[in-house]
Symmetry: D2
Subunit: 356 residues, 4 copies
């Protein structure tokens, strides 16, 4: 189902950029989990527009409300509906874009598929939909924390600039969410420069799932990396994903790539934390390619809904690079996937009671 | 469900390398589709071991039998069960490997997950399981052909050698399935050399879905590229996937990356044939990273099931590079995914368009 | 998934009796469907408490709000979230019931399953949850109307009184929703009498799906009556369902039961509108057994959460018979099931037939 | 999916009456479960044609073969494919029935839905398909046995004759599978009489799930009785299902119907073993209406595929009553449903590890 993901832990989202609200129903939450709106708000604030000078100046409060599924501060095991009202909708004249297909946007495909389109902003294809994912992911993260599993993402590369060092502590200390504080400064400049040029830049996000439990994921179709890939590439603007050695693996030999094992554990992690689609207990590491923002205030060639050639400029309050704000979205998708597999595992491979 | 993929077109596989048979139940086949075993055998022969001097000398006949769902040469719309008997199981002494974890294999994770393991070969994690996928994919391809959709994959890079040219006609004419005949010769040598050195090499597969219909895929979670990524990364030995510009997109600007549109169509295809998770009608292009074969006949460090350090050599009849044989597997997964989305779009018992 | 039903037309509900709101996300709505809150409110008003003197005097406004998925008065094809705020929550002392298991209620099983329970009212097991179903069903009905399919339910039997006649026009004209106006008067008296005696009564609902399209439903597991049965028996207080001749069929012979066919159609409808799990185009007819309301203000024996025997009286504003109000709920579940099968048959973004 | 049932324990069937084989892929089997073909054959023999003089004289061996998923006599946790070859296909002239719609059969609806039909016998709508369900159910039963859960069905009523007594020990001792040995004799005569008159009779099956674990089933849509109803009514020839007091509940008062609780347990079981859709731990009891066999060797009116009125006689080796043979099918569907919910339960409501 397009708007639902998961099997035992399910997230169903709703809402478009210019409707009344976006949100989600999350089902399969462990009963008894302590939870409040602040737990969720904390993650939403990391995705929020207007959080720094390198993100869009649009200033959504993104205030989450929990509408069900809690009792006396704890999850009941029944679905939580959470909702974020859309507050920053400016009266705006859409007549310019309503009949044309903005390059890089879903305008064209939505019209082809549905025959109708909510032309105010990007509707359901808007990045705004991801706030529901982040909110759901916050709950997933809290469940994972009970098992000692942590998920952290960061910007690894941006606008051609690569991080040279890794320091987990700096990630949330710089507006780019880069893992190298010096690169972070260059990257922030790159974003400002792109904005000034009415252009945009992309980047690579790296994400690490640590404290992993071995045995998560299923062989054949529901391999843990297959499900992570689906979840992550369901986020708009992503163009690829690689695990462990990833696209460097093709140039390695088997002897180089195989992760040998000693009595104290694996000696390397080229596989990225899985074997045969199942977690080994090592960190799961993946990287995601993020394209430059499609909305740029430059003249581009396109057509209108009648097929006539036109020129268009995508005005509006857009991020010149969405990497800093996409980090929590990718973490959320990883968390949602992992909780689903954690729950499947307990169910699927339950041990038989003794038969005495 | 681990052994089932798809929603309206579903493939459920069974079988392990050393059991009696592998196969699949395929449901959601368009009633009236003409089909016979030769249609399927043709694709299986592309995946078959022993097809050339650069693949494993193991010689499985891989003869498919259709056990249900056909009547008078046509699909009835009811499930087809197809089965491939395992014939090449040599009496073999597994005592050496039964208690240890081969590096790069699922031995370790299967034991952690299930508490038991079929130690004859790789059991369910064996590449042999993919023959069921190829067989199912052959049916999917035949359905897609009626809509004018073609799927073709090829080796783009292997052992560090990159194809410099592209000629669709040469792909099936060289044993590597490379798109450049000169590179193909070097790649074949590379494989022979790796085999001689008891080592292995990896590569990159590129796949093109042409004749696409606009409107396939759903926004939000079931984006067409998200589902393709899941399907493809559910194939063992894959380490990453990228669409269109892929991991090159992060270094592009929005102006460079956006595919502008003219009255005669899109002016470029950096997006790889989708916008907002939905097909544009352009070719869908993706690339897959394939790791070097894990089974190498060299001494490697590992542990046994009791945690003791041991050395192991994975003897046996293995491919020094699985790229030539993985091409039809990846095509099959793409075909299965595409038919599922086609049916979502037009319904379970959609009629075939005429083929004039 | 517990809170989601359907495959191509999915309804995911949330909310408990004493939370902030109940509602649903409905996905798979045909793009272009004209829809407004009044379409939904009309059905909610049929389920609403306080609609007559024989229903609970609790007076919920049950005002629906559409929060997403509409644009310019039409469905966009993206999920609609609709929400009904809970307004009639009286400050109430739950200390009496919080530690005991009310007979006939889910208190016992919720505690056994989840280890925690929202003891304010019946939480997620409350009939209040069904208002979300009715709202979702209103959308399904509107889609079915475009295909000429109508769904109508009525009270066939109540408190031992059986309808002797059938007049579709009287159903919504009497507070019982009986199909026989004279029986309706006796039934209403029966409900008042039960209420006066602090007791409750049950009944049988009959439901007819007319204007059916042949070919809906799938053979084997997803037979149309199997899916209708699941949908209908997922409504609390139902104890059985039968199709066509139902529990009378066992006493018939094959010759009596078989529906013969003439050039102008079937000569009878003992099968209830399906053959082999697929609709024939005849009316689909089923009956549902509804138990007497569990909440009665009489002394009953039960135990508390520590296993001690206690006596309990379920005070509160309850219906002495839920039959009149369950009719729209059962219609809704039938409508939701039917739309899902219609879409499976014709696809996710099927266009509406013209309505001439 | 039409040919798949279940979420964590899934059964996917294939095969038609006159194809090569029928069978199933069963996934989600607990690893380590001891299993062999005799465990399955035992149940198949209860469904087998030709088992007594009151069943069809057709004599299928119904010999099951396990093709995957076992290792050293134990389930590996990977899918088991089991297959039953069709051996009793007589050369037969189908020209008489190929163009007409037999009353009570799926011929009409299959043609309407698929546009094509395997007219040899009933194809996929044949009762033969249920042998795959029985085989899968045998595995489910074995898993349930480890938890102390037993499933037993019996004939409660047949051809208008009702069992007056209940003795579990006699059920498998009489060819009818009635729970009352004296009624069994009358019932057997009734079947022989119907056969002699080229007619058929129906009956009611009762089924008991004992040794239940409290907490199985989910509130809202996946109530345990909703899922049991779907599973059972997906068996051909069933026309209704009721739980506990069932269709008698509507005539009871709340005071009569509510099951009060004492320190030693529930004082009655009108609910049939569930509250709020979740098992209480009491026996789950349900009854199923089974129609008289549709295939009768009497003249009946029908039409051919061109709409012309014709007369037809359904010759062949048919049961004059399928009740004795449907008992194991209904048990199988209950077992499959229960295992699925058992596995969900362990997964869905897993407890949080302590956080010390």
């Amino acid at each position: 189902m397009s708007s639902t993901i998961g099997k035992l832990f399910t997230v169903t989202t709703f809402g478009e950029s210019h409707g009344q609200a976006v949100g989600a129903i999350i089902d399969g939450i462990t009963p008894g989990l302590e939870l409040n709106e602040a737990d969720i708000q904390k993650e939403l604030d990391r995705r929020r527009p207007g959080q720094s000078d390198i993100t869009t100046p649009r200033s959504e409060a993104d205030q989450v409300q929990i509408m069900s599924g809690l009792f006396e501060g704890k999850a009941t095991g029944h679905p939580i509906m959470l909702m974020i009202m859309n507050t920053s909708m400016r009266p705006y004249d859409y007549s310019e874009i309503k009949d044309l297909y903005r390059p890089g946007h879903a305008d064209y495909t939505f019209n082809k598929k549905y025959g109708v389109r909510d032309y105010r902003g990007s509707g359901r294809a808007s990045g705004r939909e991801t706030s529901a994912r982040v909110a759901a992911g916050a709950i997933a993260k809290k469940m994972l924390n009970h098992y000692g599993i942590k998920i952290q993402g960061w910007v690894k590369r941006l606008g051609g600039i690569e991080c040279k060092t890794f320091d987990a502590d700096v990630i949330e200390q710089n507006p780019v969410r880069a893992c190298d504080p010096e690169a972070a400064i260059l990257m922030a400049d790159k974003i400002r420069q792109a904005a000034a040029e009415k252009n945009s830049v992309g980047g690579i996000i790296e994400c690490c799932l640590s404290g992993m439990i071995p045995g998560l994921g299923e062989p054949v179709f529901d391999k843990i990396e297959a499900d992570l890939a689906k979840a992550v590439l369901s986020v708009g603007a992503t163009k690829g994903i690689e695990f462990g050695a990833g696209f460097a693996a093709p140039d390695m030999t088997g002897k180089e790539h195989n992760d040998e094992i000693s009595a104290t554990g694996f000696l390397s992690n080229n596989a990225g934390g899985t074997l045969g689609g199942i977690s080994t207990g090592q960190d799961i590491i993946f990287r995601v390619a993020v394209k430059p923002t499609s909305s740029i205030a430059q003249l581009q060639h396109t057509i209108d809904i009648n097929g006539n050639e036109v020129e268009c400029i995508t005005e509006g309050r857009h991020d010149a690079c969405i990497c800093p704000r996409i980090v929590p979205v990718i973490e959320a998708m990883a968390a949602i996937t992992l909780v689903d597999h954690l729950k499947r595992q307990v169910g699927l491979t339950m041990r038989l009671p003794s038969q005495d």
